[in-house]
């Protein structure tokens, strides 16, 4: 059923029972299959596990994951970054929980007893309910923050009062449903999230400490006045930080990220199926779907984030502030800033078509543009 009320009834299985036979219940576990539809896991009346893959109104039915002694169908809990699934089965009379990793064809990849899946990680593994981390082959590799609840901004929380911990070192899987119960929301997210990039940008680079310094900077003052001059209302650092929370960063230095499409990273606000790698081209960063109310994505080239490999981007905060304030929030293209006399008066200079001159100007705390003839101006001198 979609948001317009159009619906279809899709038959996944059909059985005939003899007269007088009680009709049994058939618990059916459904989980998203990225943005392609769903899979449903259930035990057929004839006793065998079944996986039904629903794409649009089409259904493909095949054998489901089967392990020795299972009582019920494997209930898929999350979808891993490679598109396979990790779920829970209960085994034996004592209903011992098993983590069962399986693919769309129902083939069991690995199992682990006495545990349940919680969050898929970006190395293909799983953080389990016990806190044990398992690798992509089901081997235990250590412990994560036990019993933590993670927010969309990668904050790790623990119940007691409400305790917040630094985010865990392990990145979460890229996907639409990487967490069991999808962070308690019971729905798949409308876009795949690059958790590690978000964590690194929001918690390590554009974090409280940086914004506290930025608030006292020359740039903060100039941008504030400049935004007013451009008739962009409501410029405050609070608003910028709010936009930062709802902006998703995608780092092409991560596997699988570059193949995402503009449609996917904007939650279908855009219909463009171009990959973000293609969209970024040779740029350092690009913002998709600009504006305070939009589902904005900021794409970052490989090497931009630490560990650094590109000397010219050894200060990613300037590029990130450029994308976040000037594009994600203010929703203006670079030309608007270059052509604005107020910013020009404040030292913004453009000798050629490159747009990184704005980043360079920001890196001087908005005082001058490095390379401008007749001036002494050094990049990366801003202290925020």
């Amino acid at each position: 059923m979609n948001s317009a009320g159009a619906s279809d009834q899709i038959v996944l299985g059909d059985w005939v029972a003899s007269s007088g036979v009680d009709i049994p219940t058939i618990p059916t576990y459904v989980i998203t299959n990225a943005d392609q539809g769903v899979i449903a896991s259930f035990i057929a009346l004839t006793g065998e596990p079944v996986i039904a893959t629903v794409t649009g109104t089409s259904v493909s039915v095949g054998p489901g994951p089967s392990i020795a002694g299972q009582n019920d169908a494997v209930a898929p809990a999350l979808q891993a970054e490679d598109g396979s699934y990790v779920g829970t089965a209960y085994v034996g009379d004592d209903r011992t929980p098993y983590i069962v990793a399986f693919d769309e064809s129902g083939t069991v990849r690995w199992t682990v007893p006495n545990d349940e899946p919680k969050i898929g990680t970006d190395d293909g593994g799983v953080i389990a309910k016990s806190g044990i981390m398992y690798d992509q082959n089901g081997g235990a590799s250590g412990f994560s923050v036990a019993a933590a609840i993670y927010s969309w901004t990668s904050g790790a929380y623990e119940i007691g009062s409400v305790h917040r911990f630094p985010s865990p070192p392990q990145g979460f899987a890229l996907g639409w449903f990487p967490s069991a119960g999808d962070f308690g929301l019971l729905f798949a997210s409308h876009f795949p999230t690059d958790w590690r990039a978000n964590d690194e940008v929001k918690n390590d680079i554009l974090n409280d400490k940086m914004w506290a310094k930025f608030a006292r900077s020359t740039c903060a003052s100039i941008l504030s006045q400049g935004m007013s001059a451009l008739a962009i209302p409501n410029y405050t650092l609070t608003a910028i930080r709010q936009k930062e929370r709802q902006t998703n960063f995608y780092y092409l230095g991560q596997s699988n990220v570059g193949a995402l499409t503009l449609q996917q990273v904007t939650g279908y606000e855009l219909s463009n199926t171009q990959t973000i790698t293609s969209y970024l081209g040779g740029a350092n960063a690009a913002t998709v779907n600009m504006g305070a109310t939009k589902q904005t994505a900021v794409i970052l080239k490989a090497g931009l984030l630490p560990p650094l490999s590109i000397p010219s981007t050894s200060h990613p905060e300037f590029t990130l502030v450029h994308e976040l304030i000037l594009h994600a929030w203010a929703a203006q293209p670079d030309d608007v800033y270059f052509n604005n006399t107020f910013f020009q008066q404040k030292g913004l200079w453009r000798p050629d078509a490159a747009t990184t001159w704005i980043t360079d100007w920001l890196s001087t705390d908005c005082t001058c543009t490095p390379g401008r003839p007749g001036t002494t101006c050094t990049a990366n001198t801003a202290k925020w």
Partner: protein
């Protein structure tokens, strides 16, 4: 006539047992009386029996009308009149008039006959989507159907004038019919093109591999196609247009049989594969090593593996050879002890206990300690060298000093908290043994509030058997200790204390903290009430009332400005100046701030928000949005829900005591089902809470309190509309969709069709998938034939 006359008070007399009005008995004319219509409804042309009395003795002076339209002929009896509903009749009264005297009216409901005007296409193969245009189809499908020459079709869309249906497997050329309320209306013929095989039956319906199965049906074609049993191709020995004989193929399992002709698949019919059950006699070696080779002997394994599997311990083994009586396989590297079982053609063998030699801890000495404590772990299977092995003592990896197959020596790491000791080797965790880190840890504070002088009992672990240098913090200062043990401390609230936290210190180490309220007139608190900062950090703190409202105009102080300084803002911004600890006070509340020189130690909280003091049951992440401020929502034990920002402030709170299934929406707020009738636990209203303010808005009512509502990414909220009888009625499972942002609203009646009803309790949890659609798993059943019941599991989507 012999009459046994008995006077009646109501004016009737009885003649031969039948009540007759006194006037008629006296020979005066009496108006006829209609008692019932059978059937009471139907389309034009329906033959209706009108039951009643006093219809007179002749036909000549009798007329019958349906909503004013007279019938031209009818059958007559003393107590019945039979007549067909005349053309042009609409719903209205039936009246019998005898000798000019009209009867009482009784309503006959005319069921309109659906009219098919056109088909979007009049020919095509099975699977073609056909749009049927016409009228009187009804707004919703409910129990209505579409058939193609008698074969029921799947319906994709239904309105009063348009239906979209899919040409079903088995359909042949013939008329399309729409049936509404049991009344069918035929339309143009639809010509089914191409091969569209249809299976009507299997004989036998079950059997082992090799069984010859006769598949009956139609349109199999004269040229042989393919037959699959649960996806495995079968050998065909006979093929005609209406019958196929195929052998159950090796490797097949119970599942659907499908005939495919020229690339077009038939409907599927289940076939149960039976046969010799695999049986294990022995497993050797047992115990076995992880990644070691084992031999499983027995019978019925099948001559070839095909899709056979062998389960060893807690995982499938990797098969290296397979015969009907012997399997050789390698134990999975991460397998642990469990059972050995063989699966063939979907059937499992008996299970045999199977032991995998993994690391096992026998003892740990000592079983408690602090950072740096040297711990000796003895046992087996640790591996002769550490390799990738790790040791966990409490909640952190320990520093290994020595390693052998039977003994590991390691030291407790800084930041570890109490937990288990476990040895990790080759990707497998050993058994776990409790290991206690001797740092104080609070479990409860009773009471959680109290005026100065109140005696407070704190329970937990690691307090130390005697107080020694230990201390207790209650509110904003140390309490007066009255008793002390390792698991319980009693202390009284000090004079001058204000609301803050409770915690215990022992050996210079502070425990975790819990909220402690010192009652005052305003009962305000600071959020967060506990902060751990690194020198140079800044952080905001807010004062809030007991109802979650911001309190301003307070005087803020730091107990040590050289450690934590305050800005002049209201509320102020804290700056961590130097390592140490300071108490921030404002009005009748306080916050505890600890400043570290470098990074926070592992396991140290950044901040703590005590909530409203009743205790936090659940934390649910908020969806980041420009219209919301929360990072998480904290569900309190007293039913309050607080919006907590990423820096620990309480932005707003709401009373959720009457609200169930409260979930975040995509606007930064919450959506829930609010119970509106205390006498009917199912009656709810769909409510939404604004992400910026927490203000409640009712968006639809009434809805069923079960199942939980879900929210689509575009803001549409889906819930189950309350059935008409306000009860638990499965035949009225209607979904309501409401989008408060656009005002769009619609309803969809679930899973209806000819003789089809949902099974009780068979609709599962709603899910919004990554494609943006709502999916609802469910089961329906339909009476397909006299002695059988058809049922299916379905999912609804768009």
């Amino acid at each position: 006539m012999t009459a046994n006359v008995q006077p009646q008070r109501n004016g009737n007399i009885f003649i031969n047992g039948q009540a007759v009005p006194i006037s008629q008995a006296a020979g005066q004319p009496v108006a006829p009386q209609i008692s019932s219509l059978s059937p009471p409804s139907g389309p034009v042309g329906t033959y209706v029996v009108i039951w009643g009395t006093y219809y007179g003795s002749t036909l000549t002076n009798t007329t019958v009308t349906f909503n004013g339209i007279p019938v031209s002929s009818y059958d007559y009896g003393i107590t019945t009149i039979g007549a067909r509903v005349p053309a042009g009749t609409t719903t209205g009264p039936v009246i019998v008039t005898v000798a000019g005297l009209p009867s009482n009216p009784l309503t006959f409901t005319v069921i309109p006959t659906p009219v098919i005007n056109s088909l979007s296409t009049t020919s095509g193969p099975v699977g073609t989507a056909v749009t049927i245009s016409g009228s009187l189809f009804g707004v919703n499908q409910t129990t209505s159907t579409v058939t193609f020459n008698g074969i029921t079709a799947q319906v994709r869309g239904w309105s009063d004038s348009t239906i979209t249906a899919v040409v079903p497997p088995g359909a042949t050329t013939g008329p399309v019919m729409v049936t509404v309320g049991g009344v069918g209306g035929s339309g143009p013929a639809f010509s089914v093109t191409g091969a569209s095989p249809y299976i009507s039956g299997l004989s036998p319906g079950s059997g082992n591999v090799g069984t010859a199965v006769t598949i009956s049906g139609s349109k199999f074609g004269s040229s042989q196609g393919t037959v699959t049993f649960n996806g495995v191709a079968a050998a065909v020995s006979n093929w005609t247009t209406s019958s196929i004989v195929a052998a159950v193929p090796p490797g097949s399992a119970t599942g659907p049989v499908v005939v495919t002709v020229s690339g077009v698949g038939s409907n599927s019919v289940q076939y149960a594969v039976t046969g010799p059950t695999p049986s294990i006699v022995s497993v050797s070696p047992n115990p076995a090593a992880p990644a070691g080779s084992v031999t499983v002997t027995g019978s019925g394994f099948g001559a070839n593996q095909v899709n056979g599997k062998v389960w060893l311990g807690t995982s499938f083994g990797a098969v290296t050879s397979w015969s009907d009586t012997q399997i050789v396989a390698t134990v999975a590297a991460n397998a642990t002890s469990g059972t050995a079982q063989v699966q063939q053609s979907g059937m499992w063998s008996n299970s045999v206990p199977f032991t995998v030699n993994t690391a096992q801890i026998a003892s740990i000495t000592p079983n408690s300690g602090i950072a740096g404590t040297l711990v000796t772990i003895t046992g087996s299977g640790f591996g002769s060298a550490q390799g990738s092995g790790q040791v966990w003592l409490g909640t952190a990896a320990a520093s290994v000093q020595s390693w052998s197959d039977t003994q590991v020596v390691a030291t407790v790491s800084a930041g570890a908290a109490s937990g288990n000791a476990q040895v990790l080797q080759n990707g497998v965790m050993s058994n776990s043994v409790p290991f206690t880190i001797n740092i104080p840890h609070l479990l409860s504070v009773t009471p959680g509030s109290g005026l100065p002088g109140t005696s407070v009992t704190i329970t937990g672990t690691g307090f130390g058997s005697t107080q020694g240098s230990g201390a207790v913090w209650l509110g904003s200062t140390t309490g007066q200790v009255t008793s002390w043990s390792d698991t319980q401390v009693m202390a009284s609230v000090a004079s001058g204390a204000v609301t803050g936290i409770a915690r215990v210190q022992q050996n210079g180490v502070w425990s975790n903290a819990m909220a402690f309220i010192v009652p005052s007139g305003d009962n305000m608190s600071l959020t967060p009430n506990l902060l751990n900062l690194v020198v140079g950090d800044t952080h905001s703190v807010a004062a809030v009332s007991s109802t979650g409202q911001a309190v301003t105009g307070l005087t803020w102080t730091s107990s040590d400005p050289t450690i934590v300084s305050l800005s002049t803002d209201d509320p102020p911004v804290l700056t961590a100046v130097a390592a140490g600890r300071a108490t921030i006070t404002a009005g009748t509340a306080s916050a505890d701030v600890t400043v570290f020189s470098n990074d926070l130690p592992v396991g140290t909280v950044q901040w703590s928000n005590a909530g409203d003091g009743s205790g936090v049951d659940r934390i649910v992440p908020a969806v980041p949005n420009a219209n919301g401020v929360a990072d998480v929502f904290a569900f309190q034990q007293d039913g309050t829900v607080q919006a907590i920002t990423s820096d620990g402030a309480t932005a707003w709170q709401l009373d959720a005591t009457q609200i169930r299934s409260l979930i975040p929406d995509f606007q930064g707020g919450l959506v829930g089902l609010e119970q509106t009738d205390s006498t009917n636990g199912n009656l709810c209203a769909l409510v939404q809470f604004n992400g910026l303010t927490g203000q409640k808005t009712t968006v639809y009512s009434p809805v069923d309190c079960y199942p939980s509502a879900v929210v689509s990414t575009d803001g549409t909220i889906f819930a189950r509309r309350m059935p008409a009888d306000n009860g638990y009625e499965y035949t009225d499972f209607t979904i309501v969709g409401v989008n408060p942002l656009t005002g769009n609203q619609f309803t969809v009646l679930m899973a209806q069709g000819a003789n089809t009803t949902p099974l009780d309790g068979q609709y599962g949890d709603f899910i919004i998938a990554g494609d943006g659609y709502l999916y609802i798993p469910g089961c329906t059943r339909s009476l397909a034939r006299t002695s059988t019941t058809r049922f299916s599991t379905t999912g609804s989507s768009g």
